[in-house]
Amino acid sequence: MKPVNEMSVSLLSCSSNEAFARAAVSAFIAQLDPTVDELCDIKTAVSEAVTNCIVHAYRDTIGVIYITCRLYEDGGIVVKIRDKGCGIEDIEQAMQPLFTTQEGERAGLGFAVMQSFMDKLRVTSKPGKGTTVTMKKTMERRPKQNG
């Protein structure tokens, strides 16, 4: 299926850009006219993925985070968040709730949150090369409002 609209953003992995990443994705998704709650779910998931790039992928450095967002006719949204950071050795283990490599600092719930707030989550990674998180969610369709 071809997307009806798409955009991409790249930003630096400084923590001040986390809010910008969320704002950019929400401003784009606003086209589908979601409710505030639907928007919140997506923003929370985006937040977790972007935070992972900042605190894990580019832990001791500043790198570039690439976000792509595609909108589909059926109300589907695909958000892809990619980094060229350290990568993940064991993806299955990383995705376990409560698993974290920053014990004491982080809760290990990022992937669990993404999974529960989105319909689909796919993670691919190459140690030393980077990680791509692809998330999908379909907005509830509602009758088009006039105007």
């Binding site: 923590s15 986390e18 809010a19 969320r22 704002a23 929400s26 401003a27 998704i29 606003a30 086209q31 006219d33 979601p34 409710t35 505030v36 709650d37 928007l39 923003k43 937040s47 977790e48 935070t51 900042i54 605190v55 600092e105 982080r106 809760a107 719930l109 990022g110 509602r142 409002q145 105007g147």
Partner: protein, 77 residues
Amino acid sequence: IGEIRRYLRDNNSIRVSRSLRDTAYKAMQVKEKMMAKNSREPTVEEIAKELDMPREEVVVALESVVEPVSLYEPVFS
């Protein structure tokens, strides 16, 4: 052009941070009001119409009041 410029801006020297917070606050009020009235969640467009603002602006304003929880306060559950 000076004319257009004067027309477009109403000499608003308040900070964007405050203006965003005000918009977000108004948006949340409208949302509550509409939820009470229609017993369903309004869409972003319905809120934007009520505030006479583009959806994109409403959505970005809502962003300004969320604390990036994950980044600064790891949650222990």
